[in-house]
Amino acid sequence: MSSHREAPEISKDPVADSSDLYAFVSPDKPGYATIIANYVPLQAPDGGPNFFEFGDDVLYEIHISNRGDAQADITYGFRFHTVVFNKKTFLYNTGQITSVFDPHFNRRQYYSVTRTTRGGNTVQLGANLEVPPCNIGPRSTPNYEHLAAQCVHGIGNRTFFAGQRADAFHVDLGAVFDLLDLRPFQNLHLIPTAAATGVNSLANLNVHSIAMRVPLSDLTVDGKTPTDPASLKSVVGIWTTASRQRTHVYEGPGASAQNLGGWEQVSRLGNPLINEVVIPMGSKDDWNHSKPSNDSDYAASFLHPEVAGLLPVLYPGVFKNLAAYTKPRADLVAILGTGIPSGVVPGFQNYTGKVVADMLRLNLAIPATPFAKASPAGLAGGDPAGFPNGRRVTDDVVTIELRAIAGLLIPLVDKSFTPDAATSAVDDGSTATPTQQVFPYLNTPHDGYSAA
């Protein structure tokens, strides 16, 4: 998955698990960018009575680098707290929740948001902002869209939302992790079965999202709205993290557990699927604790990705050219590690400098593509407003990265290579989850009753 349960340590701590990051120039609000950070992945909608929520003991952050050194220049921080109004019931809601202020909404979360600039100047942008309940079912949350809308908080020229949404990431998990099976092509697999239609394993699952829409000038190094796509000042690198305090002390009955110490990063995410399938098992936990600016430590995993070696073995005879290509993968380093410099793709760049770092890079001066014309293939589909120029909720990142790893984009940096014929058709066959065309763009979460 993009980054759902992608490392041994964080797979046991879903509340702090960064699962997807989206960043794009807002198609419906020119001059603004939207960033969505997802956590708490793989939520079964009927997972009560203790429905999913953010961690009160987790520091959630969205980092922006705009000086080309992969250091955080701007960090938006989010802290949650939970209030239980009636502790003498087991019920999440003691009746219908018709408003986020409804007294039947028994277990509520609120959050604060801060903006910290490089050097440590922190400003609190908002506090006690309401989080909607989980989507329980038609008796408990009969008008969920209204509840979610109440939690779209406009603060000055910024907009925030935090709460449950439908997970838009799509992938055929059951097949992919069964020895890299791709159902539409499994007749060509080393252990073949008849070709079949792909399955979206996340089609009915929810996630918790932190979404914000801010002016483009909120993100740039000079505080101005960028207009020149060729300028390095137009490009920002973005990543999310989750951190926990260093110690957690259980004191037994009658006493709340205590968290003490500084914040230790336990999860991070920039580009999709990096820690998932690029970083090897023995390094995954370290990766989650490390900073993007230190990603040169993992350069070997980008230069010689394991999946590129597996494809020719698991699909005999299909990826002959890829199998014969032994050079370091400069194409993947450019796409995922530094951004694509000018001169590689005509009229396009999202280069953030020579520091190899896993950040989602967004050229803020490239206008958004209208929803109806956006290509799920992103830049590879001729749509420069899509992945790897940021990432929209509709971008098919599994297919894009699968094809890239299979060598589709090697000719951008090495014209001596010809991709295998199958490369441009490689696909896991999963279909996209519907999304919406207004903030926060991810769909209404699946309700628990209907999931049964």
């Binding site: 219908q96 007294p103 260093r246 003490l260």
Partner: protein
């Protein structure tokens, strides 16, 4: 036991009284069983403190309180703390 009424479960029901109880974490209070000769007797700060002796031989100690951390090297203190848990 919670009190539930049919009325409370249907749309448009009247407001159910709900005590607004906010969970409050009460920090533990450390009590000194004896006064060390080096204790200056000044009042201790409120709140719990965790001392993490990573390496007693090297004297490496991290002291944590709230969100703050202080790293010190004190071989005597580290040894004293480590010995407290010696069987």
């Amino acid at each position: 036991m919670a009190e539930h009424t049919r009325r409370a479960f249907i749309r448009g029901a009247g407001v159910t009284a709900a005590a607004a109880t906010v969970a409050v974490m009460v920090p533990g209070v450390a009590t000194a069983a004896s006064q060390s000769p080096s204790d200056d007797g000044s009042p201790a700060p409120d709140g719990s403190v965790v001392a993490f002796v990573k390496d007693a031989k090297a004297g490496s100690i991290t002291v944590m309180r709230g969100e703050r951390e202080v790293h010190i090297t004190d071989k005597a203190l580290a040894r004293k703390l480590a010995k407290l848990t010696q069987l």
